[in-house]
């Protein structure tokens, strides 16, 4: 009897030990931890000349909510009723299904290419409306309107500003016989509506959004040399901003959009951080160290530049005021921390971090100094925060190809974008659109 008790006690201790060690691994490999709240996005009603609305808006909203990793919309087949306005909603029918929130709406045609889109969001338990909105749309803008609705719904339900109506830019590389073709692409944040901004048989690197989302800076290797351009998206016109002898690289816009931080190498190849006034092309030098100093990025208040430097041996993140001075080292975990990017609210720093032999994305909380590895690949790179500071996008590997993933800043919700058939790299998330 004694022996059996002792054996059980030992078993319990081992079980506890086992669950502790598994938990540490789980945070890194889990793709979608946390609870997905069951919600219903009811197919929208339609009043208009054609057989159906130009876009399945409820489908776009449902896909956005699903992609956030926080919601599980129920399939329309499971719905007991299909209301399109608030008065039609029977809360009992939704309570039975365990649904916590219901979205209803309709699209009405008001002209040849003019529509009115309305939606209402209800809390099933409280039996009350949380938000209702009506927006005009054309066929061309309807998808963007659907994303804006999803943003409003998301913010009401989570308290976090939605980023479904934003864009991303990235670089693709495609084989073309013996050569490769590189393109700089802008798409919606869900990967739809891809627009090629620039195409080249030479590499393109380091895209960066202007704060008003109207321009992209990037590095082009056309002519077998590195040149920094700033291109206006609407017109396709581009400005050659730096083509000095040697390296020109790593551009990033200041918060007021008037300046770029740049990496210049010069004839002796000593990479250093510079600030350039875009209008005057005047440059100010910020670092003079013989180390590799590169990958500069601005703090949201425009007063500091964070950058990568290997002045202490391996790459680490440093910070320096824009009027110069001695840079201060920011990262102390491990032997390799590079490519810093701040969250727009200034509270977190994302970077590429060498984690037990794997290059992964890590997030440093600048306020409480918590350091968290948030990705799980071997060659993860190019982290970029969404404008709500809650989610990051980065590039990882699927076999030979680069593929994009998003992850929440706490590392708990990770999603892959795309199939891995194309070779995609260097994603950057746009700012919130200025309306």
């Amino acid at each position: 009897m004694q022996e059996t008790l002792r054996t059980w006690a030992l078993a319990c201790v081992l079980l506890l030990l086992a669950s502790h060690s598994w938990a540490e691994l789980q945070i890194e490999i889990t793709q979608g931890a946390g609870r997905r709240a069951p919600v219903a996005v009811v197919p929208f009603g339609w009043e208009g000349g054609d057989a159906s609305a130009p876009l399945d808006i409820s489908g776009v909203i449902g896909a956005d909510l699903t992609r956030s990793g926080r919601f599980a919309p129920i399939p329309p087949d499971d719905m007991l009723q299909m209301p399109t306005t608030g008065v039609e909603v029977d809360f009992d029918d939704w309570s039975i299904l365990g649904v916590e929130a219901v979205v209803v709406g309709r699209v009405t045609q008001t002209g040849d290419n003019a529509y009115s889109v309305q939606f209402q969001l209800f809390d099933v338990f409280k039996r009350e409306q949380l938000v209702g909105y009506r927006m005009p749309a054309s066929r061309g803008t309807m998808r963007r309107v659907a994303h804006r609705a999803a943003d409003m719904i998301f913010e009401k339900l989570t308290g976090i500003q939605g980023v479904f109506a934003t864009q991303i830019a990235y670089v693709t590389a495609k084989e073309n016989g013996r050569n490769r073709i590189f393109t700089l692409v802008v798409s919606d944040s869900d990967g739809e509506n891809e627009n090629t901004i620039m195409e080249s048989t030479d590499p393109i690197m380091s895209p960066a959004w202007s704060p008003d989302s109207r321009r992209l800076a990037y590095v082009s290797f056309e002519g077998d040399r590195s040149t920094v351009f700033v291109q206006t998206l609407r017109t396709g016109n581009r400005l050659k901003v730096s083509d000095r002898r040697g390296i020109n690289g790593a551009p990033a816009f200041s918060p007021d959009g008037r300046k770029l931080v740049l990496t210049l190498g010069g004839a002796d190849g000593n990479l250093d951080i510079f600030i350039m006034d875009i209008a005057t092309k005047d440059i100010t030098r910020l670092t003079t160290n013989r180390a590799i100093d590169t990958e500069g990025t601005w703090s949201p208040d425009g007063e500091q530049i964070y950058f990568t430097s290997d002045r202490s041996g391996g790459p680490q993140v440093y910070r320096v005021g824009i009027s110069g001075g001695t840079p201060e080292r920011i990262t102390f975990e491990g032997s390799y921390n590079a490519r810093p990017r701040l969250s727009p609210d200034g509270s977190k720093l994302a970077m590429v971090h060498l984690d037990r032999g794997n290059y992964r994305i890590a997030v440093l909380d600048l306020e409480n100094e918590n350091f968290l590895v948030v990705s799980a690949g071997r060659q993860d790179e190019s982290p970029s925060f969404a404008p709500n500071s809650d989610t990051l996008i980065y590039a990882t590997r699927a076999g030979r190809n680069g593929v994009l993933e998003t992850v929440s800043a706490d590392g708990l919700i990770r999603q892959r974008m795309g199939s891995g058939r194309a070779d995609v790299r260097e994603p950057v998330w746009s700012p919130f659109p200025r309306l």
Binding site: E3, T4, T7, W8, L10, A11, L14, L15, L17, A18, S21, W22, L25, E175, R178, N179, R180, T201, P203, M205, S206, F221, D224, R225, S226, R245, G246, I247, G249, A250, T263, G265, A267, D268, G269, L271, I292, T294, E295, T308, D310, G314, P315, Y336, A338, R339, V352, L354, R356, G357, N358, Y359, R378, Q379, E381, S382, R397, R400, R425, E426
Partner: protein, 171 residues
């Protein structure tokens, strides 16, 4: 009783498996291939390998055009001393001759930092050529970082082929 032992053993195994770290550390691997005897193996997608190959007829056709480097290193390995001396000699004998030194890095880590590593390597070759008689205005450098790999794999064999400087004669 033996049932209990079986459960205990499997629990113990679960703990041990959970504690094991099986992620290999690429920094632990060493060495690179010695490519000093290779002629320009214009790599996959590297159409620029067709540039600037117009060499004088009295030059040894076997003269290597690629210098390889160890991981995270820009130090020139001693075995390239002879080769670089010959290139420097060619340059100092003909003041109009121009070369471009194209530096590269393997794909690991951050892209713009790898531009820096590639540039460090081109600069190391440049300094050696200058010391041995070439003039500054004969040499230009560029770094492609990890953007123009010679080998597309993600193994040490491919990485070692990508850590290189390619010497391109422009005339």
């Amino acid at each position: 009783m033996s049932h209990m032992r079986l459960i205990l053993i499997s629990l113990l195994s679960a703990v041990l498996v959970g504690c094991a770290s099986n992620i290999p550390d690429p920094e632990a691997t060493s060495g690179s291939t010695d490519g000093s005897d290779s002629t320009d193996t214009s790599g996959y997608g590297d159409s620029s390998g067709m540039d600037g190959e117009n060499m004088d007829s009295d030059v040894d056709d076997e003269m290597g055009m690629i210098i390889y480097f160890d991981f995270d290193q820009s130090d020139l390995k001693p075995e390239y001393g002879d080769l670089l001396a010959r290139h420097a000699g060619k340059l100092s004998n003909s003041s109009r001759t121009q070369v471009r030194l194209e530096g590269h890095a393997d794909e690991r880590g951050s892209r713009e930092y790898n531009i820096g590593l590639g540039e460090r390597r081109s600069q190391a070759v440049r300094r050696m050529l200058l010391i041995q008689g070439a003039s500054s205005n004969q040499i230009s450098t560029v770094s492609f970082g990890e953007e123009r790999p010679a080998a597309m794999g993600s193994d040490e064999g491919s990485y070692s082929q990508n850590r290189r400087v390619e010497i391109k004669y422009l005339n």
